[in-house]
């Protein structure tokens, strides 16, 4: 019995240390990302950006936090009291919970215990990540409804429809990754991407390409090479899940003031704000783990546990930079275009890619069946595209979408 107690005690202690360290690191990274976003966008718009607090304005995020902390926080008289109070927490908590299954680095050995750099290596990691994304919807829809105001309500319902639509595409885009990795655990998926692509013999006997294929011995063995369509769907749907531009319709300041958090102020607003950036960081971390080899990367002999952490942070920040770049580049989608993209493009594309991955990878399927599947798929794609040029429909008559069939 005491053995069980000891075990639970040890687990709880190590767990607590991990949790606190990751939590603080995540909050700091999110604060850094708020600063990074303002600085990067300022740079892209030929402005200076924050430059008052600390060197290069680095302390801006902390200054903002302190300011919001000391601001008056009032609840509109029309608001629903308790729902209004818990909505910010409901928005923030799920956004950081998803980081629990992401492996942040290799492992270290403390005494006789192996301590992995992951909070919880559960074997349903991908499902857990998707579940936390689904829970995040509650914060937005509760905030929108509880405010007792019209703009937040519109932002809230918009957001619900948007988030659930893109959640399907997000889930389906991860099925091919589970297929090639044979596991839903993010640790397994990262482990499967170790090393380099290795010796490629595909071009043997062809003069120039034969020489060039040696380059694969230094190319890292990431899933992005074979699963780039899955990544494209995942990335677009993920940005929609985080309510980021160009999918920031729930906030849409030019239409809905600030959408679901119009009526929030002070520290509660800060929670929505920070929650969004934590969500961006976590999404980038998951994308890195699934498609870009996670923490794998070359390191030096000294401090072998440190290099994976640095690689992971660097890769994550690159993906965050991409998301910020998109905000600076793309205009916001109109609502009907948003639904069109989610339901009529991303979901069919994700289903198609699942079938392709299955056809290529299932063992023992005869060549004729594979050929037949590909012919049918190609026929479907041609039939779909042949119904009229979608780009033309987009430009000329966006109301009708592309499925009224007027070529």
């Amino acid at each position: 019995m005491s053995g069980v107690v000891d075990l639970i005690g040890a687990v709880a202690l190590i767990g607590l240390i991990k949790v606190v360290v990751v939590f603080v690191a995540l909050l700091l990274t999110a604060a850094l990302v708020t600063y990074m976003e303002r600085k990067v966008i300022a740079d892209m718009q030929a402005r200076v950006g924050p430059n008052r607090w600390g060197p290069f304005g680095l302390l801006q995020a902390i200054a903002d936090g302190i300011k919001l902390f000391f601001k008056e926080d009032f609840r509109p008289a029309a608001a629903d009291r308790w729902t209004y109070a818990i909505a910010p927490a409901a928005a923030m908590v799920p956004s950081f919970l998803a980081i629990a299954v992401v492996p942040l680095g290799d492992h270290v050995t403390v005494g006789d215990r192996r301590v992995d750099f992951v909070i919880a290596d559960i074997n349903i990691g991908i499902l857990y990540f998707l579940a936390m994304g689904s829970l995040g919807v509650y914060g937005v829809v509760l905030a929108g409804w509880a405010s007792g105001s019209k703009y937040p309500l519109l932002g809230g319902v918009r957001s619900t429809a948007q988030l659930i639509s893109y959640e399907i595409a997000l889930g389906l885009s991860l099925v091919p990754i589970a297929m090639v990795a044979g596991s839903l655990s993010l640790s397994d998926i990262v482990a499967a991407q170790a090393g380099t692509v290795g010796n490629v013999t595909f071009f043997d006997g062809i003069p120039v390409l034969e020489q060039l294929q040696d380059i694969f011995s230094i190319v890292p063995n990431w899933y992005i090479w074979s699963q780039w369509p899955a990544f494209a769907i995942f990335f677009v749907a993920g940005i929609a899940e985080t309510n980021r531009a160009p999918f920031d319709l729930p906030e849409a300041e030019t239409e809905l003031i600030a959408g679901y958090h119009t009526e929030y102020s002070g520290i509660r607003f800060a929670m929505f704000y920070l929650g969004e950036y934590i969500h961006v960081v976590v999404l980038s971390a998951v994308a890195v783990s699934l498609f870009f080899g996670g923490w794998h990367g070359p390191g030096l002999g000294i401090l072998p546990w440190l290099w994976p952490l640095l690689w992971f942070l660097a890769k994550t920040l690159v993906v965050v930079y991409l998301i910020i770049w998109l905000r600076a580049t793309l205009p916001r989608l109109r609502y009907d275009r948003l639904m069109w993209l989610g339901w009529k493009r991303l979901i069919p594309a994700a289903l198609l890619w699942i079938v392709v991955t299955a056809t290529v990878n299932t063992e023992g399927v005869s060549r004729n069946i594979r050929l037949a599947v590909f012919v049918v798929l190609a026929g479907l794609i041609l039939a779909w595209v042949g119904r009229g040029d979608p780009r033309l429909a987009f430009a000329v008559n966006p109301q009708s979408g592309d499925d009224r069939g007027s070529a």
């Binding site: 926080d73 919970l97 499902l127 105001s149 959640e167 889930g171 839903l184 289903l351 299955a358 063992e363």
Partner: protein
């Protein structure tokens, strides 16, 4: 066991199922199905085995720290909730509180709000919610298959093609019925 209570019945069935499927979830869905089928068929026979959980030979044990991972997630939830609560309470202590009547009205572009905030919304949102339920369940069914599809061979491959085709047809139907048209 005709005279045992229904709950004992359920518990015994579930225990049997868990001891048989101790390779525990690569796939939550299968455990669900197994637990259910084992529970329903408990005294009469064992549930049929699923091809991707090894049932021959020794039953593999649950990894020792299987549940500790979930304990750690529990700690994470508690720490997170605690931090959010503490932050809210601290802010409550230090922030000013100067109520005026105008502050407590809702925002409506500077004019006094007209009517209630809870206005009617478009029924389209509801239709999307219905469609969401269908397709999200589809994704749940795909994951268990995705883990093991390589080994299942041609038959499972064809079956899954049919499953996906049916759902793709449902999506096509929704599109043709203009359910996915906004406005």
């Amino acid at each position: 066991m005709p005279d045992s209570g229904v709950f004992e019945y359920l518990a015994a069935g579930l225990r049997g199922a868990v001891s048989r499927t101790n390779a525990l979830p690569n796939c939550a869905f299968c455990v669900l199905v197994f637990g259910l089928s084992a529970t329903l068929s408990y005294p009469r026979g064992s549930p049929r085995s699923c091809s991707h959980i090894a049932t021959s030979g020794a039953v593999p044990a649950v990894p020792r720290d299987y549940f500790s991972q979930y304990i750690t997630i529990g700690i994470f939830v508690l720490v997170g909730l605690g931090l959010v609560g503490v932050t809210l309470q601290l802010a409550r202590l230090v922030r000013p509180n100067v109520p005026t009547r105008e502050k407590y009205t809702t925002y409506e572009s500077g004019i006094d709000p007209i009517g209630r905030g809870w206005t009617q919304t478009n029924v389209r949102y509801y239709i999307f919610a219905l469609l969401f339920v269908i397709f999200d369940v589809e994704a749940v069914f795909l994951f268990p298959w995705a883990i093991v599809f390589e080994r299942l061979g041609t038959q499972a491959f064809i079956e899954m093609l049919i499953f996906i085709a049916i759902l793709a047809f449902a999506l096509l139907y929704a599109i043709r019925k203009k359910m996915l048209e906004w406005l």
